[in-house]
Homo-oligomer: 169 residues x 2
């Protein structure tokens, strides 16, 4: 059985007690959180975010560069004025570099010239140092001319072993 | 006060009852969910996803094209074999097109030539039709040679007024 078949029944329980249909589109706390797709990361409970309060942008690593399109939409169309970037301990992005993953995929799809060309053009955005990667992403956003002037930009780590967050930028 | 100042105290409550420090890096249900950054979307409770079970990728609109890098990492390095794409009702992406947002930003940052050039090179990935956008994203992934053969790819809508999900592809 594919896992998606459980979504409908699990959602049924949620719908039964759902009373948040009135919430407006813009986030009430005017904040956008950028974090990793990691299965052990769950921003709502870990950061105490209630439904309707914050934009949550997630990708492999929680990289700000890839989140830029979303952040611009979040600020310009939906009124957010803060960005908080979270990366976490034991992140998959710490375990490889671009050459590693390109080589692996080319080997797994050997003979497919299209795949080889495609992966050579993707920057997978891995990083070798957790705290430095947070500082780099905060710096990237602070220097980016597409962000609104005066945006409050902070950087954090989340520890998957303890559940703790720590502000580092 | 900036909102991020509340993260530490809200996280403190989470840490006090945290008992999931043992979870492994790869998602136990081998599934990656792609959904929107919208503040009314909260995949863990809405889809019944427990900590450690699924990758969750979120961006403005829940667009598969921008999620591709993360999906490739999810599959090749962390063993997921299913992708479920969710877009939702009342999405901000239904309310504008590329020309609208480019014009707005250029007007807000008038005189900054660098900004004008940057926004002209961003595809903000808006869409005019909710269900069609889900079908388009599922098709994009099904045809993409970087996804593993045999990947189960499904497409869904989430209704922000009722809390209900509906499979449409």
């Amino acid at each position: 059985m594919s896992y998606h078949q459980s979504f409908t029944s699990l959602n049924h329980n949620y719908v039964a007690s759902f009373d948040k249909g009135h919430l407006p589109l813009p986030p009430s706390k005017h904040v956008a959180v950028v974090t990793c797709m990691d299965a052990r990361v769950e921003p709502a409970s870990q950061l105490g975010i209630n439904l309707g309060e914050a934009h949550v942008i997630r990708n492999a690593g929680g990289r700000a560069k890839e989140a830029l399109r979303s952040i611009v939409i979040s600020q310009r169309l939906l009124g957010t004025r803060e960005v908080a970037v979270f990366h976490h301990t034991d992140c998959g992005m710490l375990t490889f570099n671009n050459e590693d993953i390109r080589k692996q995929i080319k080997s797994e799809e050997s003979g497919k010239a299209e795949v080889a060309s495609l992966v050579d053009h993707i920057d997978f955005l891995p990083f070798p140092d957790l705290e430095q990667s947070v500082k780099d992403d905060v710096e990237f956003l602070k220097e980016n001319p597409l962000l609104l002037e005066g945006t409050v930009i902070t950087g954090w780590t989340y520890d998957v072993k303890t559940g703790k967050v720590k502000q580092i930028a």
